[in-house]
């Protein structure tokens, strides 16, 4: 990990503020080339924001993010767009273009960027759709797809330009067990077969732990734990253990801070 060449994405001292709210407070991350790295944490810790920072859609308030040796925030718009052609991103909703068919959605980045003849675009699209198992759905419109299928189409689109990395934003949220299983397998397989670097942002512990090589746990703007899935399950931090094992009570209390229960029940205030 100390070898700089191994890291596709390096985050150093990243600070990000949204108004007066601090989302990230000086975090360091190393995402190794060819591995599946997961960023985990409770809802509202800005995990999606982290992906947007890496993709250059928002600028950090402080610190630096470098992707494949380029410091994202310093790139011109043109350079940034060049870099993005080599990044795929899978949005939580799939973000398919609703007025285009499945085929045209996957063809979209190819038609916009590759300048390939239409026959070759067609072959490539069919290949990518075959890889996610949805070649038969090419004529459907996004509104006719289930959530899991939409995500798979979006995945086919994300790998259309053969990127060096893919960022997954909450890929498992709201999926039934079968499509969850399909996605887990796809993410792992694509990573192996295409030699991708994958970044998964998620709070689904079991699925993420099953495919991630390395996990960072974020909470309140800081990295509170890191390691392989195994290491984290037995982490020293009580907080990390609560999160990984999904226990209802612990350092993160079950109860929202409130006045004393008995006292509030007995008090006459607020009664009619």
């Amino acid at each position: 990990m100390s070898n700089k060449k191994d890291n596709l994405v390096e985050v150093r001292g990243l600070t990000f503020k949204f108004g007066s709210r601090i989302i990230f407070d000086g975090i360091d991350l190393d995402l190794q080339r060819g591995k599946v790295t997961a960023i985990m944490g409770p809802s509202g810790t800005g995990k999606t924001t982290l992906l947007r920072l890496i993709g250059g859609q928002v600028r950090p308030s402080g610190g630096a993010i470098s992707v494949d040796g380029h410091e994202v925030a310093r790139l011109t718009r043109r350079e940034l767009f060049e870099l993005r052609k080599r990044m795929g991103m899978l949005f939580q909703s799939g973000a398919l273009l609703t007025d285009l068919s499945v085929f045209d959605n996957v063809a979209f980045p190819l038609r916009e960027h590759s300048g390939l003849p239409e026959a070759m675009v067609r072959d490539l699209v069919l290949m990518k759709l075959e890889a996610v198992g949805l070649r038969g759905a090419q004529r459907l419109m996004p509104s006719e797809l289930s959530g899991g299928m939409a995500r798979r189409v979006a995945l086919a689109r994300a790998i259309a330009l053969d990127p060096m990395m893919i960022m997954y934003d909450e890929p498992f949220t709201g999926q039934d067990p079968i499509s969850m299983g399909v996605l887990v397998k796809l993410i792992r397989d694509l990573n192996e077969v295409l030699g991708l670097t994958s970044i998964i942002v998620s709070h689904d512990v079991a699925e993420t732990a099953a495919i991630a090589d390395y996990i960072y746990v974020l909470s309140q703007g800081k990295v509170v734990g890191e390691g392989t899935p195994d290491e984290l399950h037995h982490a020293n931090s009580e907080w990390v253990r609560q999160f990984m094992q999904g226990m209802p009570d612990g350092p993160v209390p079950f109860h929202y801070p409130a006045a004393d229960y008995a006292q509030e029940l007995l008090s006459r205030e607020g009664r009619r």
Partner: protein, 157 residues
């Protein structure tokens, strides 16, 4: 996405309809075609007062439009308005002693020039001037005269 051919056809129909509408506004509603037939032979006439006469106001004989006012000038020697009229070439048998008057169509309507043909055997041609003219009736003047005459009648008693 809708059928591409249908979309393209409909867009074509839309643009054609818009162009047709503009054409209709230009040709049927406005005086754009009147500009083109302003050519013809030109005669001038001097008036003391032209009232609300404007360029493109009609010129008619017996209620038939035979031309339009093509220019309005002011003669600084005679202190009179000089009105140039373009007369449709098919009406080339107007006697030289034709008189021109400025009338109002209806009580408050627009003003136009009416020709009253004379009896000469020679006809008006390009560049001629009509000498017999009658100015516009200005409503305020008429009312003013009326009041004045009433007042002077009252003073005489």
């Amino acid at each position: 996405m809708q059928n591409t051919r249908l979309v393209e056809t409909m867009v074509g129909v839309f643009i054609a309809a818009g162009a047709a509408a503009l054409l209709m506004l230009a040709m049927k509603v406005s005086n754009l075609n009147a500009f083109s037939d302003v050519e013809g032979y030109e005669v001038t006439a001097q008036f003391e007062n032209i009232g609300g006469l404007k360029v493109l106001s009609p010129v008619s004989v017996g209620g038939v439009r035979i031309g339009r006012v093509s220019a309005i000038d002011f003669d600084q020697e005679d202190y009179e308005a000089v009105v140039t009229m373009a007369i449709n070439p098919q009406y080339d048998r107007l006697p030289v002693d034709t008189s021109a008057s400025i009338f109002t169509s209806g009580l408050l309507g627009e003003q136009y020039i009416g020709f009253e043909p004379g009896g000469e055997e020679r006809f008006l041609k390009d560049g001629d001037q009509i000498t017999l003219t009658q100015s516009a009736m200005v409503l305020e003047q008429i009312i003013g005269q009326f009041i004045f005459s009433k007042a002077s009648e009252g003073g005489g008693e």
